[in-house]
């Protein structure tokens, strides 16, 4: 009953045009020639699963299995071609940290902008400003335009902003693969903290060790289809023996 996420028969199709047609002239020329080819590609096919509150679901699969597409559908960025997704609660997407950063603006300005993108109130950001800065370890660079930041600083700041709240659902896509191991540990710690606070986490990673450490259930996707879902030990074991 307490399914926080229900995914029902989700199917995602993409129209892959042979070449991307961007201009009107190209479009007309192709239309006249009759080779405006739409190659249909099914990225996800009939995916159904439920996630209960407080569960930590890992998603594994080889490249092109449809993991990121599934996360984007969960985050509401993509609309599935068929099927539906029901989400009961707030979502913090960590699909790509710093997606909303404007390189021309300073870190301070970006914190407010990015916070607003994630739906925080201005007062809330103000209150937590120092917490964000200290987690990201960029105290000295608050008023430097982000374009001068290193990629590690970028990732740290993005992660710090996105995880300042305790959302009902946290979506993590390979973010932990950026930054040095010290930062990775810090992130893992923060995610564990959120888990303790009752956050449901969905995590995509090629780092099977991380999945085994954090998750309690694992979904294995292969070529857009659900290969299996179940207890992490069983699925991870299968996955590892399959790959190797």
């Amino acid at each position: 009953m307490d399914n926080i996420i229900s995914v029902e028969h989700v199917k995602m199709k993409f129209n892959l045009m042979e070449e991307k047609v961007d201009t009107l002239k190209e479009y007309i020329v192709k239309l006249i020639k009759g080779n405006l080819l739409y190659n249909e590609f099914t990225a996800l096919d009939d995916i159904s699963f439920n996630v209960k509150k407080g569960e930590i679901l890992g998603i594994v699969g080889f490249n092109g299995a449809g993991k990121s597409t599934l996360l984007k559908i969960l985050a509401g960025v993509l609309k599935p071609t068929e099927g539906k997704v029901i989400i009961r609660g707030s979502i913090a997407p960590l699909i790509e940290v710093g997606a909303g950063f404007d390189p021309e603006l300073t870190a301070r300005e970006n914190i407010y902008l990015n916070g607003a993108i994630l739906g925080y109130k201005r007062d809330f950001i103000k209150k937590n400003f120092s917490k964000i800065i200290s987690f990201a370890e960029i105290e000295r660079f608050i008023d430097v335009p982000i374009k001068n930041f290193s990629s590690g600083m970028y990732a740290r700041l993005g992660f710090a902003i996105a995880t300042i709240v305790n959302p009902d659902i946290l979506i993590v896509d390979e973010v932990l693969s950026v930054g040095d191991f010290k930062f990775q540990n810090k992130c893992e710690q923060r995610i564990n903290e959120m888990i303790d606070n009752g956050t449901t986490v969905i995590i995509v990673s090629h780092d099977i060790g991380l999945i085994e450490r954090i998750c309690n259930r694992v979904l294995w996707l292969e070529h857009g289809k659900k290969k299996c879902i179940g207890n992490k030990d069983i699925v991870c074991k299968m996955y590892k023996s399959y790959g190797g």
Binding site: E96, D102, L105, A116
Partner: protein
């Protein structure tokens, strides 16, 4: 949708702030440029036209400035809104945000810019001894109606721009044609009768006429003009929302 706007008002605020900050980043005079720009433009145009081509217009400076104000606002708001979806592509691909917020915030930032040009207008009114009546406060109404009109057009342009980048070039050409088709620096009477239809079918003309009536002629625009302006704004917004909302789910696949 109204609920959304309320929910995301903080984001709209931040987006507007970003636009304005970026526009004047690293300039010493900053926001004052919003005021100086139209002033200089007006002075130059006024010099050219009062010596080279003489039109029989009283207080030409004010006549010109009202025209430029309206046209610049329209051009900036629609141009800016047109690129809003593409420029925020990386964001739209990663986080769910109602997408119409981008064109909306762009049009609103142009509105803020317009507000900064108002002091220039007042300066010219005082300098040219223009009579100022209480009715001047009414001038905000055509500006708001024009803002709604721009939002509608902006939504349509932003949608088209996702699919066909050509529209950037086409629209630039269109704007320079529109510049001449709007009586900004000439009296509309000089247009030959056989070409009057150009002005008649130019939506901008009606907003300009309403604004000019109030600010320049110290009169209240006729009911006809009000009705046309309101009608144009509603039609534009309705059409813009229809096109945009119908196509918005596909944006992610093209940007």
């Amino acid at each position: 949708m109204i609920k959304d706007i309320f929910l995301y008002h903080n984001l709209i605020n931040e987006l507007i702030k970003r636009d304005i900050k970026k526009k004047y980043r690293r300039s010493i005079l900053g926001i004052i440029w919003s005021m100086l720009n139209p002033l200089f433009m007006m002075i130059i145009t006024a010099m050219v036209f009062s010596h080279l081509f003489r039109f029989d217009i009283k207080n030409f400076a004010l006549y010109l400035l009202t025209g430029q104000l309206i046209f610049t606002f329209y051009a900036e708001a629609t141009n800016f809104a047109m690129s809003s979806i593409l420029e925020n592509g990386s964001l739209i691909k990663k986080v769910y945000i109602p997408k119409y917020l981008f064109p909306l915030s762009r049009v609103l930032s142009s509105g803020v810019n317009l507000c900064f040009t108002i002091p220039a207008l007042f300066l010219i009114m005082l300098y040219t001894n223009q009579e100022i009546h209480f009715t001047i406060f009414l001038s905000i109404i055509p500006l708001i109606l024009l803002l709604i009109f721009c939002l509608g057009i902006g939504l349509i342009l932003a949608t088209i721009a996702v699919y066909f980048r050509d529209v950037f070039h086409l629209y630039g050409v269109f704007l320079s044609a529109l510049n001449y088709a709007t009586p900004i620096f000439y009296p509309k009477e000089i247009v030959p009768a056989s070409y009057q239809f150009i002005i008649k079918y130019n939506p901008l003309y009606y907003y300009l006429e309403a604004f000019r009536n109030i600010v320049y002629s110290n009169s209240i625009p006729s009911a006809d003009i009000w009705i046309i302006c309101i009608g144009l704004s509603i039609t534009s917004l309705g059409l813009g929302l229809y096109v945009f909302l119908k196509k918005q789910n596909n944006f992610v696949l093209y940007i």
